[in-house]
Amino acid sequence: MAMEKILTSAVGVPESWTIGSYEKRGGYAALRKALQMEPAAIIDEVKKSNLRGRGGAGFPTGVKWGFLPRESNVPKYLVINADEGEPGTFKDHLLMELDPHRLVEGCIITGWALGMRACYVFIRGEMFQEAHRVQRAIDEAYRAKLLGENILGSGLTYDMYVHMGAGAYICGEETALIEALEGKAGQPRMKPPFPAVVGLFSCPTIVNNVETIAAVPTIIERGGEWWAEQGCERNGGPKMYGVSGHVRRPGVFEASHGVTLEELIFSDEFAGGPRLGKDGKPKKIKGVIPGGASCPVLTPEELGVRMDFDSMMSHGAASASKRPEWVDEQLWTDSLSWPGGRPRGTMLGTGCALVMDEDVCMVRVAANLAHFYHHESCGQCTPCREGSGWTARVLDSIEAGTGTERDVELLLEICNNMEGNTICPFGDAVAMAVRSYVLKYPEEFYLHVKQGGCPYPHW
């Protein structure tokens, strides 16, 4: 049975981005309700809802809000992370384009709950249309007295501003984003102090993703328990998922947090299965990146997993039995698990999956990702700056047929040394991504080395 759409309820509605359309769909009722509630009661509802951060890390939103000092003699800020730049991710832009008032309403409720003074929406520089829609929604909200001084007679004074980025993936990382907002190069800060204590303009700051805050109005309207029931344990609510690549119907789909990756890819309600080959038969899937470039790749046998933050973390670890004899045994074992021994699973990330079929060369995929990371590394930390470029060069040479078996081992060594040795998790992301292709598809790397080139069609 198709479930009720919440986060994508604006899809197909004419002029859904206007305040008139939003109010017709029940918009801003939650704000009126929230302004009658104690701020602490709002935070409680969000805690109960099991809402988890939808920027990729899945941190419980209510818990994060709890870190913000209650009393503060400087202003407190909300910053919306609308930098959506993780390759393969395309959900937040849809919310901003089609339902910007949902975001604005969520921002005002959050501001009331946390005693904030203002909110900055940090939008990717490339998203002109989305920024235009969000700015328009903010203007409409000011005219309706939903923003500004003494909102709806509540005594709350709260402003909202759009701030455009300028083309740098790293600005999606919350402390780099704060630097960019302050007019600096987007280079992440050391944590602690966390932004909740020392954030924007050195003031207490909460950074949340677009989709996270867009959930808040519904949580207030229907209650935290209701939201929690729509998902699975510890992962509340419906969630926006995406599927791109070699499927029949790529797009954004809203589903319960308990949906499986397999359903998302194969069900006619969602992506409709793999694309057809020239013979009219569905092509074979070779691999799926479940939630953006940084998430370790999954094989076709590993798709029956629930798309929630916890299930994904413990799923899809590569196995010892796949080790080719030419890879050092200790190196392989070290690569399989985290220091301490827990197997390295994959991640839900942003929930936007990329499906790759049998025509795709996995060495080339890894090289594409490595080049992306090399280009986007902010350059502060040596392991990340040098490691990302080094993996890219080694992968290029394997793809070109000039690599050796030793080069494949070298990739694992570089990744293992990069991880955990950088200021922000960007370095870990490079390592997790690149390593997973070697561990899951060692035979493809071997084939490139032995044949002296790439055996797959050019794309």
């Binding site: 202003p75 959506e84 730049g85 993780e86 390759p87 393969g88 991710t89 395309f90 937040d92 832009h93 990717r124 520089g125 490339e126 998203m127 002109f128 249309q129 501003y161 701030h163 455009m164 980025g165 300028a166 083309g167 740098a168 993936y169 960019a180 907002l181 302050e182 007019g183 600096k184 190069a185 987007g186 303009f201 995406g242 599927v243 791109s244 690549g245 070699h246 790529p250 797009g251 954004v252 990146i289 470039a293 936007c352 990329l354 790759m356 795709v360 995929v365 594409n368 990702l369 992306f372 280009h375 986007e376 794309w459």
Partner: protein, 175 residues
Amino acid sequence: MTLHFSEQGEQEFQSILGRYPEDHRRAALLPTLHLAQREFGYVSLEAMEYVASRLSLPTSKVLHVATFYTMYNKRPVGRYHLQVCKSISCAVMGAYGLLEYLEARLEVERGETTGDGLFTLSEAECLAACDKGPMLQCNEDYTGCLGARREDGTWPEVDALLDSLRAGRGVPVQG
């Protein structure tokens, strides 16, 4: 110094300043550089010096920021800036082929501008429209999925896009 914001640009500059606390004027730097790019066509060293003077910042700081971010064009670009996404979702849908096709049709290499000043061809990283790959951004617009090159080597969707731009009709609206 010869550069100045136009009257409208000046108004926008004042409105940008109003978005940030008075003791944090530097926060206006990214939006002011965007404004300078719109006003002056690209972010030249002279434009950086002008922005620095308007925000009372050392030019070196503006230079650091302007060169960190890829959207600030440090060289003039053509009337239509075509930025092809070559990140992974678009790549598996044919982005490299799209770049090669555009290079051949426009007779430029990526990073270059056509002799008539009409087109600049660039590579871009994921533009958050991965379900529509391969795709490109033309100035402020996204094209939507451009389909695939045909077996006979033609690419009607891309040809239609270039024809429409050459005729001054903008990016064709996607169905």
